[in-house]
Symmetry: C2
DNA sequence: ATAAACTTTCAATAAATCCTGAAAGTTTAA
DNA sequence: TTAAACTTTCAGGATTTATTGAAAGTTTAT
């Protein structure tokens, strides 16, 4: 396969994967071109490569920065901002997991805590089933949360080491 | 908190979580009401509880069945179909992971395999960077894929046992 | 202080996704 | 075989989400 075709297909694939996981397709595509770029890129480079507007580019790059997947880089003698992606895929995975934990797991935990303590007739079939499910979910989410914390906080690459054990 | 309020909030929360992970909000809400229902529900029950149309209900229940999260149940003497959700949360997690692996990880693996072998000038900075990233990604996705396979195929609850080790 | 270079915002618009409801299809009972 | 009971489909409409582009905001060099 020729390089330009391969590149286009990677951008496509990465964008599709992102959108399947609830991430803006364009944000994932911007991430893709930064991942494979050997040099920092500026807003115009990204606009051009993806044929998107300045505003859209700005917004999605900012989001990538908020996810800690990209950082700004200043090139001496140039007023423009340039952007660089974290290139270690295990580190990328860790940061995505950390961010999703914070944004999605933690709020759910809070809600479940409350829902466990629903008031009402303790003999009602409905309330029994509800409470049982809330307890199960809270316990599950709590374990996930804790496991994920361990994974993302370990100094050595625990994620890798755990998964490696699974594969032997 | 009162039961009906708690129930409404659970349906809301589950729907939101689903949509953040790329799953149709309504499908997640249907899942929620089945998860907490002590009895099988029919299409009309679901339509009524969520105020959605018959067509929408049918489509989303079918999807839940395709994800192996819900199954049909026949009640003797009744012509209607009733639906029941898998209630073991670890089993629910296993099935979701299995399904996402099949739908999303496997297709990506195929593409990465091809993209690793891009042709062109081996000294080009761009091609070097691209190839390096494809190799990293392919290796990563391969390990994820393998780990996930182990998790979902183990007869005992390996998912639990692995996570449990993390938490000690 | 000024203006050029650059970045950010956001209201209007476009695109993608989801939902409805009626019609077509299927199954069951008699 | 018929018709009632039930399920499925899908074109059109509604809603949600993403994008544009121009104006406002900011920074830097002189």
């Amino acid at each position: 396969m020729e390089f330009n075709e391969a590149k286009a297909q990677f951008i496509q694939t990465w964008g599709k994967l992102g959108s399947e996981w609830g991430i803006n397709r364009t944000m994932a595509q911007v991430h893709a071109i930064l991942l494979i770029s050997p040099t920092p890129l500026c807003t115009e480079d990204i606009m051009e490569q993806l044929s998107i507007s300045r505003g859209n580019t700005n917004m999605n790059v900012r989001d990538l920065i908020n996810w800690s997947l990209v950082h700004k880089e200043l090139i001496p003698g140039d007023r423009k901002e340039y952007f660089v992606a974290e290139k270690d895929i295990w580190e990328v995975a860790r940061r995505i997991i950390a961010e999703r934990k914070k944004r999605e797991l933690e709020p759910v935990t809070k809600v479940l805590q409350q829902l466990k303590n629903v008031e009402g007739d303790k003999d009602s079939k409905e309330i029994k089933e509800f409470t049982s499910m809330m307890n199960q979910l809270d316990s599950f989410v709590g374990k996930m949360d804790k496991s994920v914390s361990v994974l993302i906080n370990e100094k050595e690459n625990k994620l890798f080491s755990i998964l490696f054990k699974l594969m032997k």
